[in-house]
Assembly symmetry: C2
Homo-oligomer: 134 residues x 2
DNA sequence: ATATATGCAAACGCTTTGCATAGAG
DNA sequence: CTCTATGCAAAGCGTTTGCATATAT
């Protein structure tokens, strides 16, 4: 290469070290800043896109219209916690077996799926809600 | 009321008459135009939001970040055709039974879900692909 | 008069791109 | 010299809002 890709590398390191699951660009940008890496937003964007294109991370978009990035490991689905807003990974609930009947009956071909559950994550279930005693 | 809601009414009529399933604001705006209803984009937006708030229609947002509106009937999921781009309704594949184990094991509570399948819709499977002979 | 519907134009939020610079090979 | 990474600033795109006007009750 012609220049050391500081941002890409830092992003990957970050995502591997921290537990935070799905990162918005803003999350990534802020996390880099905490580590004294004052990257520009566009650089974070480009680095994330590049990593996604390379298959290192995965990009997904939620109902709220904001992009999220996560490490690209085994397929899993997500739970969007309506209380804390986190996008929590959950094991995939759907396999080919679930699609066979539909494909046959509806005459469609299913190649992939994207499932987002809405509900309350484990952490929020064990913690009193924010305004509980206020 | 204080003024006849032309746009809202027209939208509802439109969505009930045509088969087009999930409408973007642009779709709605264009369809109204075809019917000589030159509504402003913001009016279409406001009318759609109002109908959604009233429970007549449902608003959803896809990976592409664009809002879609559809008549609010029985819950169903969607197939996003990667060939023609349509968002086709398919019967819901997930019921409480699918969530029980996950809720128990992961300690979460699931209230709703949003499933989008990716694949090829029936129409596209029976028609040669756009660039097939070109 | 009052309350809702609409048009017009501008603001917004997030994403994306153009252009110039920097630095490694 | 060439090629990629980065910063800065601005453009894009779809959505949303502020304000003035129109109209039915």
């Amino acid at each position: 290469m012609a220049r050391t890709p500081v941002v890409s590398t830092a992003l990957l390191t970050l995502m591997r070290e921290r537990h935070h699951h799905a990162w918005t660009l803003e999350d990534l940008h802020a996390a880099l800043a905490e580590r004294e890496i004052a990257a520009d937003f566009s650089s974070v964007f480009r680095a994330a896109e590049k990593l996604a294109a390379a298959g290192d991370i995965r990009k997904l978009t939620l109902e709220d219209g904001r992009a999220r990035f996560e490490l690209f490991d085994a397929h899993h689905d997500h739970l969007h916690c309506t209380r804390c807003g986190e996008l929590v990974p959950v094991p995939c609930l759907l396999g080919p077996g679930n699609f066979a009947a539909l494909e046959r009956e509806a005459g469609v071909a299913i190649l992939d799926h994207h499932l987002v559950l809405s509900g309350i994550c484990r952490d929020c279930r064990t913690v009193p809600s924010p305004g509980a005693s206020a």
